[in-house]
Structure formats: structure tokens, C-alpha cells
């Protein structure tokens, strides 16, 4: 846990430093293109949003029992080729 936290911190700080150092080369169309480490934060939050959002939609509306469509109860289909 500790090692991963340290490695992540080093990665985020060094890439953010790179972004700041070479800011003048970047193609910044929107303001977030200029924010250092934006993509890392977006990755963490986006991933959380996808997991929690989808699970919520799934449990609330989408997921059903495996035999919902009257298929054979969880049959192990033999696929030989």
C-alpha cells in the first residue's frame, strides 16, 4: 500500500512537472489541457464514476437472474473449435 502510494506520488509529481516545464509546446484548446495532472485526476474520478454509476444502474434496472430469458440453467456450452 505504502509503496504504491509513494510510486503514484512520484509519477504524478514528475509528469506534472514535465507538463509545467513544456507548457509552451502543448496544444491547449480547453483550460483543462493546461492543468497539471488533470488527466490523472480525471482517470481516478472517471473510473470511480463508471464503476459506481454502472453498478447503480445495473442493480436498479438492468441485472436479472441468469435464467431470466428461459435459457438452460447456466449450461456449460461445449465450444470445441
Amino acid at each position: 500500500m505504502k509503496r504504491i502510494t509513494i510510486a503514484t506520488a512520484i509519477f504524478v509529481l514528475s509528469t506534472a512537472a514535465l507538463e509545467l516545464a513544456f507548457r509552451h509546446l502543448a496544444h491547449a484548446t480547453f483550460f483543462w489541457h493546461k492543468l497539471p495532472a488533470f488527466d490523472f485526476v480525471y482517470g481516478v474520478l472517471g473510473c470511480g464514476l463508471i464503476v459506481f454509476g454502472s453498478k447503480w444502474v445495473g442493480h436498479k434496472f438492468v441485472q436479472r437472474d441468469v435464467n431470466y430469458y428461459d435459457d438452460r440453467p447456466d449450461q456449460r456450452d461445449q465450444l470445441d473449435h
Binding site: 509519477f11 502543448a26 488533470f38 482517470g43 463508471i50 454502472s54 445495473g58 449450461q75 456450452d77 465450444l79
Partner: protein, 571 residues
């Protein structure tokens, strides 16, 4: 100049007549010959065929059809290599016809040729689904067929209206201002079904995971990508496609979270990835159209590699659910490594081919000042890495050990995956190889510092969140209700109810008829004649089917009729 599709059709004709090693040589030789014949294509000439008053263009080459036909020829070679151990002539012939007709669509110069190959694709691909021989694949195949017949009919109706209202017979871009609106929307809907744009997508995730292991590799490559080709050809810059594409990209991601079946999870990510291409077509700038084309090219390579990887798992274990798999990585090391190349490619790791194409579409969105589109496509990209790059391999190969028995994987399957992995990496390392083939003249540099840093940050952020949420991500033994629910539940019930009603009406009518005859019998006799009912009049035994032709007879005469029409037209 030789049509590569024709080469595959000819191979399909030979295949059933040879066996064993000879057949493998024919299959490999045929697909290599198709690649060589791709090399013979040139922009200057085409194949024309006059049928009656129509001049068909069976082979039309321009930069867009050239790049699509190259990738189709490549994936046919790789897929056939993967399937070389499989000795089902039926599957091999349908595969070759499916691949050949996909080439037929992208090289078609007129509506009639395009439509005929479009339908041939639907029919031949159906047999790849049925080939797995399970009961479920049988039912999924029928649903697949019905949806594609419906889609084909929309397309056909659209084409007829388009031609009737003075549209050109040659295939060219349709615009809302110049095309009849009904024709425009019918054609768009027909193509949208094959492109699997939600809510018209459920046939894909329903049927692809039920196909044979070798068949699903081809399915992942052809149908949706020919549809992307047709969208690029007909609807560049159609605004509606931008948002349809974004919705697709996210829709696939949401369902992939919930999915337990390994190939169905990959199938949802076909929808997600095709979403990028559809959005690119909708944006319509040169960069976006090149991006959509390049991404179709990359996608075919990495997606077939991913399907081959998961196919190898199914082949080895006989299992297909995340909840049943796990702890097999140390016994399938090579498959894990080759799958990882596909996963890095689809996730957009720099130096792999997904990075050089997906970033074009996202950059095109920024270039056009579409901030929401850019952010949402990037969000979908997070979902892609989360599922195909982390969740699927983690729970399939690593994760808790389950004491599974593995059967050895044939060498040809591993070699085919190796070829796929080399190509995914090659195009990632040398993007110029792909960019040189793109149809529009734009310059794009994927390997700028900000692109590479952003990509790694996004991937690292996703990986950290995955690690934190690992406990929440395991497969759940459920099925996810999708838009196929409409025809699998209420529509099915409606049809059953209608059939029951008509049946009971028929039975009542026939009972009433019998009662009438029984009562009327006495009145039909001469008043002075015999009053008793003769022994031989047993109306209840009347069987109407004895006096009807079997349906095969009707089909036979229809085929004969069309054959005669075709022959007279050709003469």
C-alpha cells in the same frame, strides 16, 4: 487487377473438396492470394458488369476502399490462421464468404452491388454463430437473422426510394439537402443497425458471444466495420452521428461493468470502440474522418487479438464466465502476454496502435471545439482500460485460483495471436505505415509530449482507481437486460398470443364447418333417397396439408425464376 473478395469466394468453392493438410494449404494459400490481389488494386480501373439497363461497378478503388480492403484481407489471413486446426468445412466456407462479401461491400461502386454483398454478409455470418452448435447459439442466431433482415429491408427500401427520386446509381455521399429525407433516414437506420448504434445494437452482444471460438474473431472484425465504412462513404459530417457515437462509447462501457461473460464483455467494448468511429464520421473534418478510418483499422487488429485471447481461454477451459475463471496465468503465460498486447492497444498505451488512432478522433473533437464530446470520449477511454486492460485479464487469468483443467492450445492459434500482436505493435511504433494509407490529406503527430504524458496519467489514474475498487469489480452471476428485451419478452409474448388466437380461430372455424356439413348432409339428399349417412364421408379426417405443396417447392420455383431472369439479363 483482381478482386480480393473473388479470390476468397474461389477458395470457398475449393475447400469442401479437399481434406486435411491439403485443405489447410488451400485456406492459407487463398488468404495470402487475397492479400496479393489487394496489392494489384489500382485507382485507374474498375470492374463493370452490365445487367439489363444497369451498369454495375463490382470493383471500385479509391483511398477509402483501399485501406478498408487491406485491413479486411489482413484479418482474414490472421483469423484463418487461428482457425486452421478446425476442420469444419461448413465454418470455413461461411467464413470465406463472409470475408469475401465484406470486401465486396467496401469495393462496391454502386448501390445494387453494395446491397447484395451486404445481405450476403448477414447470411454467411449467421452460420458462424450457429456453428458453435449449442442450443443458445441456435436461438441467438435466429434473433440475429431477424434483426439483420429488418435492417437490410430498411436499407433496401431507402436505396429504392433514393434511386426513384433521381439519386445516382453510384454510391456517393448523401446530404439532407439533396437526398430525399425518407431515403436518407431509411438508409441511415439500415446502416446504423449494422454499426450497432444503441438502441439498435443488441443483436451484437446477444449473438457474438454465442458464436464458435474461431467464428467470433471474424464477427468482431467485419460487420460493424463495413457499416463504419458505409457511414464514412455516405454520411460524413452528419451531426446526429457525433452524439450517437458518444452515446455508444459510453453505453458499451456501462454494460461492460455489469458483464460476467468474457466474450460478451468484449462485445460491449466493440460497441464502445465503434462509438469513437461513428463520432468521428459525424464530426466530418478531414482529421476526424481520417481518425475514424485509422481507428477502424487499429480496432480490427486489436479486437481480433482480444477475441483470439479469450477464445484461447474458452478453448482451454471450456468456461466463459468471469465467476468461473481465475488463477490460470502461470499455465497460459504466452496467451496472457499476447492478450496484454491487445489490451494495451485498445486502452491507448503509447507505442501500440490504439493510441495512434483513438487520439486522432479525440484531438479532432478538441479542434472543432466540442469540449463535452472530448471529455466524454476520454471518459469512455478510461472505461476501456478498466475493463479490457484490467478487470477482464485480472479475473480471467489472475484472481483467485479455481483448480481448472486446461487443454493444450493448438500452435496455429498462438501463431495467429503472435501475428496480431506484432501488427498492433508495429503500427503503434511506426504510425507512418498507417497514416500513409489514410484517405484525406491532414497531418497528425501522435507522439507529442503532452499527448504521451496525458495518456500515461489517464492510464495511471484508472489503474489506481481499479486497485482501490477491486473488491467491487468481480463478475456477478446475472444477465443484463438490454434492448433485445423488447423482442425477447413483450414482442415474443405478443407473437405467441397472436399465433394462439389465429390458431383457435382456425380450429373454431373448422369445427363450425364440420358441424355445418354434418347437419346439412341430410338436406342435400333427394327427399325420396337414402336418409342414412354413407360410411365413406368422414369429414373430421380431412387434412388440408395433404393438398398443399411443401414450401420447399415454392422456394425452388422462385429460385428457378430468378435464375432465369438473371440469365436473360446477362445475355
Amino acid at each position: 487487377m483482381i478482386h480480393p473478395g473473388l479470390v476468397l469466394f474461389l477458395t470457398a468453392v475449393i475447400v469442401p473438396f479437399v481434406r486435411g493438410t491439403a485443405r489447410r494449404v488451400v485456406l492459407a494459400g487463398g488468404t495470402v492470394a487475397a492479400l496479393i490481389s489487394w496489392g494489384s488494386l489500382d485507382f485507374a480501373s474498375g470492374w463493370q458488369l452490365t445487367v439489363g439497363e444497369y451498369s454495375l461497378t463490382l470493383l471500385h478503388v479509391d483511398p477509402l476502399s483501399l485501406i478498408f480492403s487491406l485491413i479486411f484481407a489482413i484479418v482474414t489471413f490472421v483469423g484463418i490462421l487461428y482457425a486452421l486446426h478446425n476442420d469444419s468445412a461448413g465454418e470455413q466456407v461461411s467464413t470465406l464468404i463472409y470475408a469475401g462479401s465484406s470486401l465486396g461491400v467496401v469495393l462496391a461502386g454502386d448501390w445494387a452491388t453494395l446491397f447484395v454483398f451486404w445481405e450476403l454478409m448477414a447470411v454467411s455470418s449467421l452460420f458462424l454463430i450457429w456453428q458453435s452448435g449449442t442450443e443458445r447459439s441456435g436461438r441467438a442466431g435466429y434473433r440475429y437473422l431477424l434483426v439483420h433482415i429488418f435492417g437490410g429491408s430498411l436499407l433496401f427500401a431507402g436505396i429504392l426510394i433514393h434511386l426513384d427520386r433521381g439519386g445516382e446509381f453510384g454510391v456517393s455521399a448523401l446530404t439532407t439537402s439533396e437526398t430525399d429525407p425518407l431515403a436518407f433516414w431509411l438508409i441511415l437506420l439500415g446502416v446504423a443497425i449494422n454499426a450497432a448504434i444503441p438502441p439498435l445494437h443488441a443483436w451484437l452482444t446477444d449473438a457474438y458471444p454465442e458464436a464458435s471460438v474461431t467464428g467470433s474473431v471474424f464477427l468482431s472484425a467485419f460487420t460493424t466495420k463495413t457499416a463504419v465504412y458505409v457511414l464514412l462513404r455516405l454520411f460524413p459530417g452528419a451531426d446526429v452521428l457525433v452524439w450517437a457515437g458518444v452515446a455508444m462509447a459510453l453505453y458499451g462501457v456501462v454494460y461492460a461493468v455489469l458483464e460476467n461473460d468474457i466474450r460478451r464483455l468484449l462485445a460491449y467494448h466493440i460497441i464502445s470502440q465503434v462509438g469513437y468511429m461513428v463520432a468521428g464520421v459525424g464530426m466530418g473534418t478531414d482529421l476526424a474522418l481520417n481518425g475514424a478510418t485509422a481507428h477502424a483499422f487499429s480496432h480490427i487488429l486489436y479486437k481480433s487479438l482480444l477475441f483470439m485471447g479469450m477464445g484461447a481461454v474458452i478453448y482451454a477451459t471450456g468456461l466463459r464466465k468471469l465467476t468461473e475463471l481465475g488463477g490460470i496465468a502461470d499455465r497460459m503465460k504466452l496467451v496472457v502476454i499476447l492478450y496484454a498486447v491487445g489490451a494495451c492497444s485498445i486502452s491507448g498505451f503509447p507505442l501500440f496502435n490504439g493510441f495512434i488512432s483513438k487520439s486522432m478522433i479525440i484531438s479532432a473533437a478538441a479542434e472543432q471545439h466540442l469540449p463535452i464530446v472530448e471529455l466524454l470520449l476520454t471518459l469512455a477511454s478510461i472505461g476501456t482500460f478498466l475493463h479490457t486492460g484490467l478487470k477482464l485479464p485480472y479475473f480471467t487469468f489472475f484472481g483467485p485460483k479455481k483448480d481448472l483443467e486446461l487443454r493444450p492450445i493448438p500452435l496455429n492459434m498462438l501463431v495467429a495471436m503472435g501475428v496480431g500482436a506484432v501488427l498492433c505493435t508495429l503500427y503503434g511504433v511506426v504510425p507512418g505505415l498507417l497514416y500513409g494509407l489514410l484517405p484525406y490529406a491532414t497531418e497528425y503527430h501522435p507522439y507529442t509530449l503532452d499527448h504521451v504524458v496525458s495518456a500515461y496519467q489517464l492510464l495511471a489514474g484508472t489503474a489506481i482507481a481499479f486497485w482501490l475498487l477491486l473488491g467491487k469489480l468481480g463478475g456477478e452471476a446475472t444477465v443484463s437486460v438490454d434492448t433485445d428485451w423488447f423482442y425477447r419478452k413483450p414482442f415474443k409474448a405478443l407473437i405467441e398470443q397472436l399465433v394462439a388466437t389465429i390458431r383457435s380461430a382456425g380450429q373454431s372455424a373448422s369445427a363450425a364447418g364440420r358441424a355445418l356439413i354434418a347437419h346439412a348432409w341430410a338436406f342435400s339428399q333427394a327427399p325420396t333417397g337414402a336418409r342414412t349417412r354413407p360410411e365413406n364421408l368422414r369429414v373430421e379426417d380431412y387434412d388440408p396439408y395433404r393438398f398443399r405443396f411443401p414450401i420447399g417447392m415454392t422456394v425452388f420455383w422462385v429460385v428457378v425464376y430468378f435464375a432465369l431472369v438473371a440469365i436473360t439479363a446477362l445475355l
